[in-house]
């Protein structure tokens, strides 16, 4: 392995501490609290999977971590402290810009289409380097090549290619290369496999897994597929209607889900072995504008375990055992 790669001993894994984060979109129909009172510790050096249905606020949370929520969204309050960088929400604009790319690498949702269609991939690497004042542009290209090669691609071909010449799976790989080429210690991947077939998905996930391990980085993986988090993530965070429903160590959450929504998501995964009748569909529709207005538990309408209290009060997000937090009145804290 080349000396360009950061060695494990040299790097200190970067964690992120999110407190009381609130993001609102102003729309014709009113204010959408897309992220509401989120407290979350992203552990350094781990893969954290953030899962939730469409509209649950995953992308908004990711954007807020980088203080890059697009109009008409607005971060109303809260803090996002990135180790070694500071609070992304109060840093001056220039330091924020530098942090995005240098410290926080990001692959956008639909990265399929986020490359510049008119410029060759290699040029885009150089543009990225210049915008971050990279002195050694040759070294940067070399790192880009190494990464592409590492991901099973013909690096020279890819660097001279335009976006339309690459398949969906290749574009995702290129997106991951961009997120890593400046040696970011945190990478945020928003739905990196959604538009891919199973085999491309598996190979992209395999790449994420091995690069994560080699570089000892902090990885945040956003997806609506429980299977993807269950396979890859060390920790899982379940979002529902802009709030956190449950988090914990992946194997623990999968084996002993506490929140009824988490249970539902796990049961709804069809399996390739065992009894098919164990798979149960999740009922109802994903959260929408009306859900956010509810005063009680956001999951109330769809919950098979609801009681009267759930309709009137929002359950607090509380510790329910070691490394585990849950927002549900039906879950008794472990002793």
């Amino acid at each position: 392995m080349s000396a360009e790669w950061p060695l494990k001993a040299n790097t200190k894994a970067v964690g992120i501490t999110i407190r009381d984060l609130e993001v609102v979109y102003s729309t014709g129909q009113g204010q959408v609290p897309a992220v509401n009172g989120v407290d979350l510790d992203i552990a350094g050096g781990q893969i954290t999977g953030i899962i939730g249905e469409s509209g649950s606020g995953k992308s908004t949370l990711a954007m807020a971590i980088m203080n890059a929520v697009p109009h008409p969204g607005r971060i109303v309050k809260g803090s996002v402290v990135v180790d070694g960088v500071g609070n992304m929400l109060t840093l001056d604009k220039e330091s924020q810009r530098r942090a995005r790319g240098r410290n926080l690498g990001f692959v956008f949702q639909a990265a399929q289409n986020s490359l510049n269609p008119l410029t060759r991939v290699g040029h885009q690497v150089l543009d990225l380097g210049r915008s971050h004042n990279v002195k050694d542009l040759r070294g940067l290209l070399r790192r880009a090549k190494e990464l592409l090669h590492r991901m099973g691609m013909d690096a020279d071909r890819v660097l001279t290619a335009y976006q339309h010449e690459l398949s969906g799976g290749m574009r995702q790989r290129v997106g991951i290369m961009f997120a890593l080429v400046l040696d970011a210690q945190v990478v945020i991947l928003d739905e990196p496999t959604t538009a891919l077939d199973m085999l491309s998905q598996a190979s992209v996930l395999e790449i994420v897994r091995s690069i994560h391990e080699e570089r000892d980085i902090t990885t945040i993986l956003i997806t609506h597929d429980m299977g993807v988090v269950a396979d890859l993530a060390d920790r899982v965070v379940v979002m529902y209607g802009g709030e956190l429903a449950e988090e914990g160590e992946t194997a623990e959450v999968l084996a002993h889900p506490a929140h009824p929504y988490t249970k539902g998501l796990i049961q709804a995964i069809p399996r390739i072995s065992g009894d098919l009748s164990q798979a149960v569909a999740l009922s109802g529709s994903p959260p929408d504008l009306k859900t956010f207005m509810q005063s009680g538990c956001l999951f109330y309408d769809r919950c098979p375990e609801r009681v009267a209290e759930c309709q009137v009060k929002r359950p607090p997000y509380e510790s329910a055992g070691p490394e585990r937090k849950v927002a549900c009145f039906r879950v008794m804290p472990h002793d």
Partner: protein
């Protein structure tokens, strides 16, 4: 009953700047589906699954081979019969957004085909309304809750149910579901898969299920046949659970390895492997195994001779060196 023999489809090549060679999208594919039966086609993007579905639905012609629907040959029936035959085969496409006209309510979307049906059988408006309620009920939707809505007001799962309801209005005997759940939120997919399964059971509708996801193919057609397609050819075929539990072809094994392993509930199969190299869409040499360039087990013979389907009649595979491998995740004991 549908019977397909030695189906072949070649898309002609193009000259010029964006030109390409002729594409052999489907080669030598044969299968049959009894009434109420299920056949699934699995394979990665670009392997020819959609082309097979479109041919069965009469939307694409074919280069060679025979397609028989209830004994009638699609290539030789006269035009009017052909229409009647094809009405029995309904295609459900991947994208429910595109399949529905955004400017028309659900009621309008469903009444078009129902009017045609009503005319054919001399029924009146009351019949149309009653039938509309019936088909919506079949797909698990509350008629009052959806008929006056526009497609954008529904969730992806609800929209795909409407598309299925519309297909049911013409009382088909075959549904061709092409990636019917892949655009729907994962949490809602199982509901639609269950609906397809129920339609088979209750109405004896046969199902052709096209997907890249082995698990959903198993869910709708555990009792049916599975066809693993690679670059337009059958790599492996057999009863669904046989193919999944005793896969012989390395490509099938790659697809099965790609199914996520649920940490805490399962451990990975001991032979699990995932090829990092992407499918190349170029021409393959006529006398080599199509999968050889990506196959970790390829031998010299694989580069010089294309393997034919072999194996007992029920379960067959096109591989010179078939070998069962343990790639499916194993449930952990509690």
């Amino acid at each position: 009953m549908i019977e397909v023999r030695r189906l072949e489809k070649t898309f002609p090549g193009k000259h010029g700047l964006l030109g390409h060679d002729a594409v052999k999208a489907v080669q030598d594919v044969s299968f049959r589906i009894p009434d109420g039966g299920a056949v699934s086609f699995i394979g990665e993007s670009g392997c020819g699954k959609t082309t097979i579905g479109r041919i069965l639905a009469g939307l694409e012609n074919y280069t060679a081979g025979e397609v028989l629907v209830d004994g009638q040959n699609l290539a030789t029936v006269d035009r009017r019969q052909r229409e009647a035959v094809l009405r029995r085969v309904q295609l459900i496409q991947q994208d429910p957004y595109q399949a529905l006209n955004p400017a028309r309510t659900i009621e309008q979307a469903l009444s078009d085909p129902l009017k045609v049906m009503a005319k054919a059988r001399g029924a009146d408006t009351a019949w149309i309304l009653q039938r509309m309620e019936e088909v919506l009920g079949l797909v698990g939707l509350e008629p009052e809750a959806v008929v006056h809505k526009y497609p954008h007001m529904l969730s992806g799962g609800q929209r795909q149910r409407i598309v299925i309801a519309r297909a049911l209005t013409v009382e088909p005997s075959v549904l061709v579901a092409d990636e019917a759940v892949s655009m729907i939120d994962v949490s809602l997919r199982l509901g639609v898969l269950k609906l397809l399964r129920d339609l088979r059971e209750k109405f004896h509708i046969s199902l052709i299920f096209i997907t890249h996801d082995v698990a959903s193919a198993r869910y709708v057609g555990e009792d049916g046949q599975m066809f693993v397609i690679y670059k337009g050819m059958i790599a492996e075929q057999g009863p669904t659970d046989d193919v999944i539990l005793h896969p012989q072809h390395p490509y099938t094994q790659a697809l099965l390895s790609a199914v996520p392993v649920l940490k805490g509930l399962e451990s990975p199969g001991s032979d699990r492997y995932i090829p990092l190299k992407e499918l190349d869409h170029g021409q393959s040499p006529e006398n080599a195994c199509l999968f050889a360039p990506r196959c970790p087990f390829a031998q010299p013979l694989c580069e010089t001779e294309r393997p034919a389907l072999q194996g007992a009649s029920g379960h067959q595979y096109a591989c010179h060196y078939p070998q069962e491998r343990h790639v499916v995740a194993v449930a952990l004991k509690e």
